[in-house]
């Protein structure tokens, strides 16, 4: 087997040094009755060629598209080749958590840079080495909020938050019987201020708001933050499309106390939903309540600048059941992709890409609205996603798109019954005008509703 450095002669030498005759003798510690006395009922080993073929075959069984107009928390953006090339270096790829700072300065300095950039994007002061994904980042932010709010036990969650994020929140809060999750309704695609006001009270620890929200609408954080802060609660901004930070003001500058969400857009591909990149950033006051690993700058014995894992007293390996979170392995390499991506993009790249996303989405919306079956819903400012009502037959639309290898937007009815018949469309810098025209032409051919 190519991965095992076995050879008859050396194997014998190892066993002789150990003092056993056969490797199986070393299983003595496992009671006979608890062992498996047969081979696993699985195929036997394969050459690299066979394995490669098997996976090419599987990959080919996924439909390929000319263009995907679907976002909904997973975005198609261009990934510079340098990102893939750099993360392929074994020094990044195969190392683990930088427990030994003297030989892990690469990873540590990268995390420090990444934390800095997350703070910059969000306008907040402290971040960490990453969280699993957007949904679990929401959970960590929510749990942190109830932790710092001490006696307050209610969490308000805007219905504009990604439905899957809300589902994870529900799953994670369920075991904590003292905690309560309450939904705040939408009006015209954004959080309803009246409903928010009605639900705010002295038990509310925090309010989670989408920025932009799942429907692509830009919530006016500033306006919403006023009553929330007045009620003594925290504003948690949740962003599922991190590229929006090139278009929208940093949440920390418009009222958010915490910002969290999904940053897969920075240097990653849709990849059937993972690995993605959960991020979190908070005001300085909360830093000792953050979940996960944090890197800090310090000096070595000779006074040279270097980086170490720090504030570890928060973490599970020290605090065990009292830790701020259970997270251990995180999304290190995905954070590295984001770091490389952001350094390549720079401020001009971030803003420019964001502007192109906005331009493409606006153009797509305008062209779609020229179709007789497409209808506007009350418009809000949006970034690269927006909702339109479709009066035609959704199945026919799906079928027509597939025929042309186009993946249409999300049929919202499944998640928002009130938006049944509506589609959430997305366009990014990867959508050429030609692709957009081809979508519009395809849709124009869908048989009209009877």
């Amino acid at each position: 087997m190519r991965y095992l450095p076995s050879s008859p002669s050396e194997d014998q030498a190892l066993l002789a040094t150990i003092g056993v005759a056969r490797a199986e003798d070393l299983l003595a510690g496992i009671p006979e009755g608890l062992r498996l006395h047969r081979a696993l009922d699985l195929p036997t080993q394969c050459s690299e060629q066979e394995v490669t073929w098997d996976f090419m075959d599987l990959a080919q069984r996924n439909q390929r598209f000319c263009a995907q107009f679907l976002g909904a928390g997973a975005y198609d953006h261009f990934v510079p080749a340098a990102v893939d090339a750099l993360v392929g270096r074994q020094e990044w790829l195969t190392a683990y958590t930088p427990y030994q700072p003297e030989i892990s300065q690469g990873t540590l300095q990268h995390i420090f840079e990444y934390q800095t950039q997350v703070c910059d994007l969000t306008g907040l002061e402290v971040s960490n080495a990453s969280l699993y994904d957007g949904g679990t980042a929401c959970v960590e932010a929510a749990l942190m909020a109830v932790r710092v709010a001490k006696k307050r036990k209610t969490l308000l969650v805007s219905r504009g938050i990604h439905p899957f994020y809300r589902q994870i929140l529900a799953t994670s809060f369920a075991p904590h019987e003292d905690l309560k999750v309450v939904e705040v309704a939408l009006r015209d695609g954004v959080t309803d201020p009246a409903d928010l006001q009605a639900k705010l009270n002295g038990d509310v620890a925090a309010v989670l708001l989408g920025y932009p929200n799942f429907l692509g609408c830009v919530e006016d954080l500033t306006a919403l933050a006023t009553p929330i802060h007045a009620a003594g609660a925290l504003v948690v901004s949740v962003t599922q499309e991190a590229l929006a930070f090139g278009w929208l003001e940093a949440p920390g500058k418009v009222g958010a106390d915490f910002a969290c969400g999904e940053a897969m857009s920075l240097g990653n591909r849709p990849s059937f939903g993972g690995p993605y990149l959960g991020f979190i950033a908070v005001k300085d006051a909360f830093k000792r309540e953050l979940p996960g690993r944090i890197v800090g700058q310090t000096k070595d014995l000779d006074g040279r600048t270097g980086y170490v894992l720090t504030l570890t007293a928060r973490e599970q390996h020290i605090r065990r059941d009292k830790a701020t979170s259970n997270i251990c392995s995180n999304q290190g390499l995905v954070a590295l992709r984001a770091n490389i991506f952001l350094q390549l993009a720079g401020p001009e790249g971030m803003k420019g890409l964001a502007e192109q996303n906005a331009a493409k989405a606006q153009y797509l919306r305008q062209r779609l609205l020229e179709l007789p079956d497409m209808e506007a819903v009350p418009e809000q400012p949006f970034f690269n996603e927006f909702v339109l009502r479709y009066k035609g037959d959704m199945a026919a639309l799906q079928a027509a798109c597939l025929e042309e290898s186009l993946l249409p937007g999300l049929d919202l009815g499944r998640f928002y019954p009130e938006y049944a018949g509506c589609i959430l469309w997305c366009a990014t810098e990867l959508h050429s005008r030609r692709m957009i025209e081809s979508l519009v032409e395809t849709l124009a051919r869908v048989p009209a509703t009877v």
């Binding site: 087997m1 070393l26 496992i30 928390g73 683990y96 003001e249 990849s271 400012p381 810098e429």
Partner: protein, 509 residues
């Protein structure tokens, strides 16, 4: 090797106007600015302005301050730093996988669904447990999921149980996960040999009596929802009374969770489902060779008994088989089933770290049933070889037979004033990554070495030689060790100041 200067932070080298990315020509009208004025993005303070080659050099140079698996042996105990085959990276990067959208209709992602289904089948057979979810992102996430399943299982029976038992040798994530899943953690004491004590244990230092498993079960009874047991435990020793433990717990209706971080000792050799485990997680980034990425991403699938399947996270993948005539090959199709009324819900936004799952299945296919078992045996041989070569120089705090890893104590060296940290740092000077240190907590000054099956005799010998050389140095010149490392790019770091006056991000001077 050629970079003896430090690589500064990229922010410090940013120069206005430089750019590392060009934008495509905009082929549609420019965006109208629809943002409320106050929501319009202001400037960026910490995105550097650099050319492409400058960014590439930055990350290339930084990478050289890291030690990776392909530099040499990296025997972090409990982390299973085995070879990360490049073919796994290659197949995971196939555009058919990376371009596929998690919200695409099932019919368009049959490859992904079949892959998930197939990996689940492998994990079922490997663990001997009939239920699986691949959603958890890492071990800790799997633990929390598993404990939530335990909670849901009891709740479905109308039973509110509040306690999870966890041995003192358990990993920190165990109690933290149990707490996140809403349970109270009660610690199980270890016997001197590191296994769980059935009897009460009196602390030799403070005389405090710690209740053993037997006492706890009889006292807490149906308060106990389950126990989280690492097996082989964190000293690399198999809980030889596992069946008795699980029988005892089952007798009060409690479930047995197994932390499968050490599954590299068992694959193909023993199956948790066969020895009393009800639910467990696997670390695909350990036992199944997916790369650790400087901290992640990993994947922590959870496997469980039949009775717990209804509670698994949604969606679950389902296979439908078309009826075919005799002798014909069956045609399968796959879909997500979201309709699981008893499900705990979701623990990942979509379906888990899919890219990691691809790699793990490639690992499975490459090894096959025979290779998986061979790997396990080799991992055990390697750990025992290290044990045999080092045991005269380093103290084996626990004499029980080692499986895939071996834990030494620094007690021999401590007599000379040299501690585990010093030994670890000196290993760096010898060009190696140190083992896991100071874990498990039950071994004083633990040095936990897990060579994995990937190491050949050459590399094992070189590593052991380095440690033996250090042991000699301890006797001859112990003080020098406090200075280690001296050959690394940096000397020891001031961690105290780092924590007391934390500097957690760069800010313009």
């Amino acid at each position: 090797m050629f970079l003896r200067q430090r690589e500064t932070l990229s922010f410090d080298r940013s120069v206005p106007g430089k750019r590392g990315m060009d934008l495509p020509k905009l082929d549609v009208p420019a965006a109208r600015d629809t943002r409320p004025a106050h929501l319009k993005r202001g400037g960026f303070a910490a995105l550097p302005e650099l050319s492409e080659v400058e960014v590439i050099r930055h990350f290339t140079r930084l990478s050289k301050w890291n030690y990776g698996l392909e530099d040499g042996m990296y025997p972090l105990g409990s982390c299973t730093m085995k070879h990360n085959p490049r073919v796994n990276e290659k197949v995971a990067a196939l555009a058919g996988f990376t371009d596929s959208h998690p919200m695409a209709p099932d019919a368009l992602v049959q490859g992904n669904l079949e892959l998930i289904y197939t990996l689940q089948e492998w994990l079922k057979e490997i663990t001997g447990l009939p239920g699986v979810t691949l959603q958890p992102s890492a071990g800790a996430n799997g633990e929390m999921t598993g404990i939530m399943l335990i909670r849901a299982y009891h709740l479905a029976k109308g039973s509110h149980r509040r306690v999870i038992l966890i041995p003192d040798s358990g990993h920190g994530t165990n109690p933290a996960s149990a707490a996140m899943a809403g349970f109270e953690v009660v610690e199980l004491p270890s016997r001197p040999d590191g296994t769980i004590s059935f009897e009460d244990v009196t602390d030799p230092v403070n005389g405090r009596v710690r209740k053993g498993l037997q006492t706890l079960v009889s006292e807490l009874g149906t308060e106990i929802a389950g126990a989280m047991i690492t097996n082989p435990n964190t000293t690399g020793v198999f809980e030889f009374r596992f069946k008795e433990i699980s029988d005892l717990l089952h007798s009060v209706g409690a479930l047995v969770y197994m932390d499968g971080a050490n599954m590299n000792a068992l694959v193909g050799v023993a199956r948790p489902g066969d020895f009393g485990v009800d639910v467990m997680h696997l670390n695909l980034h350990k036992s199944f060779s997916t790369p650790h990425g400087g901290g992640g991403p990993g994947a922590g699938p959870v496997c469980c008994i039949q009775a717990m399947i209804p509670f698994l996270p949604v969606p679950v993948v389902v296979r439908a088989t078309e009826k075919v005539g005799e002798g014909e090959v069956a045609r399968h199709s796959y879909h997500w089933d979201w309709n699981q009324p008893q499900s705990i819900g979701k623990v990942h936004t979509f379906y888990g770290n899919f890219g990691v799952l691809v790699r793990a299945l490639a690992y499975c296919f490459s090894h096959g049933s025979d290779g998986l078992r061979e790997a396990t045996l080799r991992a055990i041989v390697n750990a025992n070889y290290v044990r045999a070569r080092l045991k005269h120089a380093f103290a084996l705090h626990i004499e029980s037979p080692s499986l895939h890893e071996v834990v030494f104590s620094d007690s021999n060296q401590a007599r000379h004033g040299v501690h585990t940290l010093d030994i670890a740092k000196r290993l760096i000077d010898h060009g190696y990554h140190p083992p896991t240190i100071y874990f498990p907590l039950i071994v004083p000054g633990a040095l936990m070495i897990e060579p994995t099956e990937s190491e050949g005799k050459d590399e094992l010998d070189a590593y052991c030689d380095a440690l033996l050389e250090i042991a000699r140095e301890v006797e001859e010149n112990p003080d020098a060790l406090h200075q280690a490392p001296t050959q690394a790019p940096l000397r020891r770091m001031d961690e105290t100041t780092a924590a007391r006056k934390p500097v957690l991000r760069w800010a313009k001077a």
